[in-house]
Each structure stands twice: as structure tokens, then as C-alpha cells.
Amino acid sequence: MSTDILNKLQTLQKNSNKRLSPVVKTIIHDNSKPRALVKSVLVANGNYATVPVKGAPSLTTSNNTDVNRRVRTFTAGSEHIVDKLNKDLLGGESYPILTTALGIATGAVSAGAGLVFTLANTGLSLANTASKVLARPGDEIWHHEKIGKEGDKIIYVSAFFIVDPYRRTSSTKGWLIHEEREEISLS
């Protein structure tokens, strides 16, 4: 079963290592349903395992390995939240610019796959294109979840992007601000 699943999954690109603090992450994720693809389950000795919500066999279907959703819009009145996020973003990190071709603005699942997989088609390297980014009122937060592979390991990726909805047609409109990865347990 594990081999069948691995064969169907795409190889992930390198981890961007963009990390926000756990407190700030609560500002940008969906508070009710933070993750759509996986859940944490308590196993032996107080440890947690990350497992697919719909079970291991579901990973052979792309619908269960790729979700892209808008989780927040910074409206008027949310300035204190934007300030908190921006303080974290100013913590010395710079953030890579992504292109419209990756499809995050439309939420297209197939196009969105490029966000965390190979960027060969775009000619864009996450490591080489860096720019300071701050959130502004009106900006959106998009959460892209993906299950892929690194060698023989099945990996869950949770990535958050700031998107400016007024520049959707621009060539640069999405900024990766947070990424985390966990190995998926199938047992």
C-alpha cells in the first residue's frame, strides 16, 4: 500500500524554512478547521502522529492530497491583528515572491500544486527571489495544504501566503510567509 501511494505522490521541493511564531499562526489559520487533509492523533507515550483525515487509501486520489483555500481577509477593524503579523514578518526574514502563473489567486488546485512542488515551469527559485513583505488591510491569507514525498517518506506540507486581491493580474502577487512539514504515519 505504502509503495502504491508513494508512486502516485509528487516529489516536494526544498523546505523554504519560513516560520511564523505559533502565536501569530493562530491569527492566520482557520481557527475552526486548521487542517483539511490531516489530523494529529495521540499514540503511545504521549506522542502524536500525523495521519490522513480520510485514511491512507485516500492518498491515491489528488483531491485528498491538495487543498488550497482562502482562510482570512484583513478587513477594517483587524488592524491589531495585522500589526501583530507584521511585527513577526519584520523579524529579519525575507519572503519569496511567487507568480500568478502558480494560480493561488484563482484557487485552482492544479495550478496551486506548483507552489510547493517543482518550480521548473516557472523558472522561479524560491531561494533566489526574496522581498520584504508586510500585510495590509484588504490582503488575504491563503492556506495551501499538500501531501507529497521526500525520498521514501510521505510528507504533509502546510503553507500560508499573503495575497493582494487587487493585484491578482500582476506578475507578482503571492508571498509565502509560513511553511511547516510533518511526516505522515500510515500505520
Partner: protein, 118 residues
């Protein structure tokens, strides 16, 4: 002969003692204490009294647990916070029972997750 046998026996006992000592579990100072679960409930009580919006409440909750209960945060809270809100209270109870043999009941936490989320 008897002296040699006595020495060998003493040495064997010493070795057994050393090996047994090595196999002992070190005292776990990094475990969540029962008192941490009481403090966790206090945090939920304080947050519930607040009249701010849900995002701010969640931020305050996470900040308080991280600052006041760092061990509980790293071993438990960070994981349950990745799960759906309607399962979090049960997950804390599950952990308290498995690791501390504690039946954790906290009306403030239960009410928080029942009323604040869609």
C-alpha cells in the same frame, strides 16, 4: 578458596547493582504535571470572560499557554491546535488520562469550544 569465592560473589553483586542502576528510568522533569491541567483550566476561564473577537481570543489563549505552561504547550497544545476546534477538549482529556491518569474536567474549556466556533 572461600575468600576467593566470597570476592567473586561480592564483585558479581556489585556488577548486578551497577547494571540495575543504569537501567533505571531517569526522573522525568519534562512531563506535564497535574497542576498544569488546573492552570490550563484557569486560562480558559480568563479567556472566556474576555469580550474580544474569536481570532484575538485564540491568540490570547495560545500566548498564555505558551508563556505559562511551556511544557504543556510543546507536548500537547501545539498538536491539538492543529485539529478541528470541536475535537480539542476531548483531545486534552485523552492526553490527561493517558499520561497523567487524570480525569480532566473543565467547564470553561468545554463551553469555549462549544460556543465560539461554527
Amino acid at each position: 578458596m572461600i575468600t576467593t569465592l566470597y570476592k567473586a560473589l561480592t564483585y558479581a553483586c556489585f556488577c548486578v547493582f551497577v547494571l540495575a542502576s543504569c537501567g533505571q528510568e531517569p526522573e522525568n522533569n519534562n512531563a506535564i504535571k497535574n497542576s498544569d491541567f488546573i492552570e490550563l483550566c484557569n486560562i480558559y476561564q480568563d479567556i472566556s470572560k474576555s469580550t474580544v473577537d474569536l481570532t484575538t481570543k485564540e491568540m490570547m489563549l495560545t500566548e498564555n499557554v505558551l508563556n505559562k505552561l511551556p511544557t504543556l504547550f510543546n507536548k500537547l497544545f501545539i498538536h491539538i491546535n492543529n485539529n478541528n476546534a470541536n475535537s480539542r477538549y476531548r483531545l486534552i482529556q485523552e492526553y490527561a488520562k493517558q499520561q497523567n491518569q487524570l480525569v480532566w474536567e473543565c467547564k470553561a474549556a468545554s463551553h469555549y469550544y462549544e460556543t465560539n466556533f461554527k
